[in-house]
């Protein structure tokens, strides 16, 4: 198919418009993953360690939120950020920041739920040792997060995969504005609607290559780290 070749060629030859799209996709999704990690990892760790009434219900809800439909998240963030909505004065709708917010909402439950599982498993293993060493609550959380860091990379990758692949949320809150909020996935949706299926497929292949590359990078880092720290 000539289309695939042309999309790949555009990337390889450094077509500025396409590179800007790729760059924005990465910036938005990586920023969302970083923010979601800052929220989701402490939340997941706290949920793993703190016993309180209703904890099981929170876990069930959190696990269910991993499957939040992007379009619903997009709509909710849209309504919040719209000028007529509660956060309208921020003026963020149809900006990359709105896309980051939407993807953060989408990804944070994934990272929190996977963190909760990972930390809880590790806590079962470490509990007696840490208690025997008289480690306080803050030290416990820090130790468990640090020692689970390689598993948590997997949680971050799951979040990144979700963010990079979704179109439903960012097309609503970003508006797919040429040169401003157009990402790989919204561009694919657009080219499909224009009937340029070969170009859409080509863009899709570029997206897949990027996602694989990010995963390979993280996997390599994880392996290297594990060799050093077990």
């Amino acid at each position: 198919m000539p289309g695939d070749v042309s999309a790949l060629q555009l990337v390889l030859t450094g077509d500025p418009a396409l590179l800007a799209i790729v760059r924005l996709s990465l910036i938005v999704s990586l920023s969302a993953v970083v923010l979601a990690a800052l929220i989701g990892i402490p939340f997941g760790a706290a949920l793993a360690l703190i016993q309180f009434p209703g904890r099981q219900a929170v876990i069930v809800v959190l696990n269910a939120l991993m499957g939040l439909p992007p379009v619903v998240v997009g709509l909710a963030v849209f309504l919040a950020l719209s000028r007529a909505g509660p956060l309208g004065s921020w003026g963020l709708l149809f900006t990359p920041k709105a896309m980051v917010i939407a993807q953060t909402v989408l990804v944070a439950p994934i990272i929190a739920a996977l963190t909760r599982q990972t930390i809880e498993d590790l806590w079962l293993e470490y509990r007696d040792e840490l208690n025997a060493m008289n480690v306080g609550p803050v030290g416990r959380v820090a130790t468990l997060i640090w020692d689970a860091r390689f598993s948590l990379v997997t949680a971050l990758l799951a979040g990144f995969g979700r963010a990079a692949a979704e179109v439903g949320a960012i097309i609503i809150v970003g508006g797919n504005i040429d040169g401003f909020t157009r990402t790989m996935t919204t561009a694919i949706a657009l080219e499909t609607s224009k009937g340029d299926l070969p170009l859409a497929v080509g863009l899709g292949m570029v997206l897949i290559v990027i996602v694989i590359a990010v995963n390979a990078l993280a996997w390599t880092a994880r392996r290297a780290g594990e060799r050093m720290a077990g």
Binding site: R23, L24, L26, I27, V28, L30, S31, V33, V34, L35, S82, R83, A84, G85, G88, S89, G91, L93, F94, T95, P96, K97, V100, R149, F150, V153, G175, N176, I177, D178, F180, T181, L190, T192, S193, K194, G195, D196, L197, L217, A218, T220, A221, R222, A224, G225, M228
Partner: protein
Amino acid sequence: MFTRRLLMAIAVSAVFAGSAFAQDKSILVASTTSTQDSGLFGHLLPMFKDKTGIDVKVVAQGTGQAIDTGRRGDADVLFVHAKAAEEKFLSEGFGVKRYPVMYNDFVLVGPKSDPAGIKGSKDIVAAFKTLKDKGIDFISRGDKSGTHQAELNLWKVAGIDIATDKGPWYKEIGQGMGAALNTAAASNAYVLTDRATWLSFKNKGELVIEVEGDKRLFNQYGVMLVNPAKHPNVKQEFGQQFIDWLVSSEGQKAIADFKINGEQLFYPNASDPGA
């Protein structure tokens, strides 16, 4: 430590992202898929930017959604094609003034084999009646867009109450023009489309134009500034500059000059007060 370096890089990229988000002299225009997908904006906006330095960001939506975007105050300017809905928007006080800009036309496309036997007709209403009588597959946008509203209007003119008379042949997909064309191409159905999207559409398959040239297929575009009295965030000055340029002789000529394969897509008519 590898991971730490990786996380650091991600964090740094997140910080730098802030600068990529910085914006200056720009307006947001809510418009329709036809103006965007045909490439009209790609043709007009660089000229306007050269002249004024204003960046125009276009959110391409169906006309219904675009008008709702304006109603919420999320856009500065509306550039759409559904006169009745636009006038309602004005009368509710959400817009300042409507300026006619240009028109293009709708065409009825369908499979080359033409199972309805309407090819070459200049009477769109008769063609619609035939489709309904023979129960020929028809794809409707079903998304309250300008094209969808034009289609509904044609059914009404044909004396058909489509809400009650529709059968399994009438498929509402609730999506944009491109998706409707893709669906029609994949299922050999008929579909009403604006000519601009049709000409630039690349996945035509077996589809050809069946009916065109009926005056009732003309499609008028208007442009409006969202009322700053309702939404103080509206960039009144830049938005009005864009509108003024579109209806100026320079803007009108730029619209007339836009062609695909030598074919003119939009016909400027800002000087026609009835449009």
